[in-house]
């Protein structure tokens, strides 16, 4: 609770769901930062990164139950490895490289439909087709659940469309079936090769009870 903001004709106490008075832009900014300005639910950008090194790590996940990631125009340095993601339980000092489960449907424009699945995977899921020739980019989005909840498994769903030797879509889901906090995400390749370029944005879905 706060009554530090100078509203007319008085300075009423402000809290989420109970704002009164007249607000200047600075008041709204200050109250929003203090989580005391009513703005029901939103997609909050946590960070956008442009790939400039071998991997892209997100080590600040904010405080959300559900996260949303977009990736676009991802270019890989090697022609034979897949774009992928992994989780960390130590803030990004290291990333877990075993014990994932996923189930992904792939759909090639040449009718090459099929399943990619397993219960002892080295990555949370794949995110796009191989290929690093000109215009062979990977694009898509991910929802994550319970990453920061130490009592629950961490889940995700993925949707992507990318270009390799052909164009191919993916949809699927993955889980790290270990009840622990996963407090960093790494975007990488299955072969340990670099992500040459591309943009990845991490959002949190804010909801108020």
């Amino acid at each position: 609770m706060s009554n530090e903001f100078g509203y007319l004709p008085e300075s009423p106490e402000q809290s989420f769901g109970n704002n009164k008075g007249i607000f200047t832009p600075k008041d709204i900014y200050d109250l929003t930062r203090a989580d005391k300005y009513t703005n029901y639910g939103q997609l909050e950008l946590i960070q956008t990164q442009t790939a400039s090194s071998a991997v892209v790590d997100f080590t600040n996940l904010g405080d959300f139950d559900v996260h949303f990631v977009t990736f676009n125009d991802i270019v890989l340095s090697n022609d034979t490895t897949l774009f992928a993601h992994r989780l960390s339980n130590d803030g990004g000092t290291s990333f877990i490289s075993s014990g994932y489960q996923y189930a992904i449907q792939y759909m090639g424009v040449n009718n090459s439909y099929g399943e990619d699945k397993g219960t002892t995977k080295l990555i949370l899921t794949t995110l796009g087709l191989t290929g690093n020739d000109t215009n062979e980019t990977k694009n898509g989005y991910i929802y994550y659940y319970h990453l920061l909840d130490s009592s629950k498994f961490s889940f995700c769903t993925i949707n992507s469309f990318s270009m390799g030797s052909i164009a191919e879509g993916l949809f699927g889901s993955g889980v790290k079936a270990t009840a622990e906090e996963h407090n960093a995400i790494r975007f990488c390749t299955t072969g340990g090769d670099a992500i040459s370029s591309g943009t990845i944005s991490l959002y949190g879905l804010k909801a108020y009870s």
Partner: protein
Amino acid sequence: MNLIQVATTTVTSAVSAVVLTGIDDDSVYMVTINNFFPDVDNKDPVTRVTVSGTAQSTSNYDRAIKILKANTSFGNVGNQNRSAFDVLTGAGTGTGEQNNAILYLYNFNNSSENSYITVQNTAINASSNHFGSMGGAVYTVQEAHDGISFSFSSDNIASGTFTLFKVVS
């Protein structure tokens, strides 16, 4: 894209159903579901449109879903004239067994159109296997729907957080 929260419910003690209402215009709406599981093992989630907050159980739901399974071959499920959308994974009470999903809701407020949903689901099912579902469903009754309800085929919801957002540009 931005989201405006319309309604949310977190279940912390058993309830028979969760109803999210507040759909009152022709926007696309989105529902997040997480940590959704029953109080009795091996139950099927039931999802229905609502009219004035009441779940509609007429046999006018059609679905088409790809069932994703980490441990075995995937499945295709297509049915017509069901009594609910039935787009989530069969649920249990074992460690980690739960549903998480994003639903998008289309045309719910439009009284002259069918009401559609799409689903992206990731789960641990009642046999402790990692399953997911991707697809869509439609309620083929042209009437306005003000919300969506969640329950199980029998018994109660033990846990879950359900949030309804309006999608705005």
